[in-house]
């Protein structure tokens, strides 16, 4: 039976996918600016942030209306509530893109501290996590969502490694502190992007399967081991 509500759900998903594409594009542009040492893309990123913020409000409004007027249940309820949560994650991802821009602008006042090696690798993993978490949402693919969860440890490891390396620069030459701090902040911004992508992946799993995998990493790993032939 086709329901009028299905049309509303389809629109909600479509707006969320659009918001996800914008957030992804903002991160891509922010990382490119960092690597190219330019700020030319920043006005476009700021414009996109405004659109993301508006979508955040619009999606929450749609969710409130659906809850109030349609009383969704079971899979519908999970999708509607998780859509609101995912919109919140995407809005914060947009904020991280803005933070990367601001930290990049601080970096651009100085000559390069060092060739960037780990940050581009870390940025690639964070962007992939975001892309895959959004793909998992679009395709309702929980296996892909699980892959995103497992990548989070890699990003965290990069952040720690980048911090340790930059600490040695700062200790040996205090003149490098402003640049090193900006790079540390950028690595933290990228780590947060990974965290939000992880949250999206967890929300996709809950939406599709009704399984809450937050804070249960050990259980998840055990399940995966048991699933292997």
């Amino acid at each position: 039976m086709q329901r009028h509500f299905d049309q509303q759900l389809a629109e909600l998903r479509s707006r969320l996918v659009h918001m996800g594409a914008l957030a992804e594009s903002m991160i891509d542009k922010a990382v490119k600016s960092l690597l190219d040492r330019t700020s030319g893309r920043h006005p476009e990123i700021f414009r996109q942030e405004e659109e993301v913020n508006n979508l955040h409000i619009e999606i929450d409004e749609r969710v409130i209306n659906m809850l109030a007027l349609q009383h969704p249940l079971a899979a519908d309820l999970r999708l509607v509530v998780m859509s609101s949560k995912i919109a919140g994650e995407l809005e914060r991802i947009g904020d991280q893109a803005i933070n990367i821009c601001q930290n990049t602008e601080a970096l651009l006042r100085y000559p390069p501290l060092k060739p960037l090696i780990d940050i581009p690798l870390m940025a690639e993993i964070s962007r992939r996590m975001l892309r895959e978490s959004l793909d998992a949402f679009v395709r309702q693919d929980t296996a892909l969502a699980l892959r995103v969860l497992n990548a989070d440890d890699e990003v965290d490891a990069f952040k720690d490694q980048i911090f340790r390396e930059l600490l040695t620069y700062m200790m040996s030459d205090p003149g490098t502190i402003p640049r090193a701090l900006s790079l540390i902040l950028i690595s933290r911004n990228l780590e947060r992007v990974g965290d939000h992508a992880t949250n999206i992946a967890e929300e996709v799993i809950y939406s599709v399967q009704g399984r809450d995998v937050r804070h249960h990493h050990e259980e998840r790993k055990r399940e995966e081991t048991e699933d292997k032939p």
């Binding site: 039976m1 969704p72 079971a74 899979a75 519908d76 309820l77 999970r78």
Partner: protein, 277 residues
Amino acid sequence: MMDQRPVDEEELPPRPTAPSHGAPPSSSGAKIRVEKLDAWYGSFHALKGISLTIPLRQITAMIGPSGCGKSTLLRCLDRMNDGVRGFRAEGRIELDGQDIYARGFPLTALRKRVGMVFQRPNPFPLSVFENVAYGPRIHGMRNGPVEENVERSLRATGLWDELKDRLQANALSLSAEQQQRLCISRLLAVQPEVLLMDEPCSALDPIATARVEELMQELKREYTIVIVTHNMQQASRASDSCGFMWLGELVEFAATQVIFTRPHSKQTEGYVTGRFG
């Protein structure tokens, strides 16, 4: 007799292949245990292998489309179908461990222990007082003066304050909601253990429905309640455990929050989201 209109099978997903599961969704004690219950109206197989445990002092809701057997199941719990021509049941229903279908089980005692609230309030055309006093009198109850029992029963449903000065008024002059609460008071007066409610709010407006639902929450402290309802919002608001029935089978029985947020069965999900039924 319940509506037995057939459901259009073409609109429905495939029938469940897994056996109906009726494990108690909570760890509290069992009040009623239904085991492999089959029931027929003539050749119509109305209930198919139903097994479930109704937890003590909880509200258990049964949901499902018209003709799925939920009212038949409810009526089996106090053997109200016994008088229906062509009705036949197999299986076992235990009330506190005793088989209510066993030969020699006292039917009068069963009806006293398990009371039924119907879709439409059905007070006797007597005074408010006589409606409530009627049950204790015919059961020859000697638990204090009748007046005390009437007051206690009317207080339990919140009617005492509204009607204490109109106890001699004809019950049929009350509002539909007051009549329904009076019918519940009438049951409480004989001190039952289980309240069966068959669509108890379908004739009531939303405010009256909310009052009856609040009353159910009060009553479950002392009574085990089983409610059949078409209203899924009511089942989700008011019940602790919930069973979904379809074509005479119990498809799923679980804690209410599970049924309405992450049901295990695709059929349950389809029904509660309004995709079929």
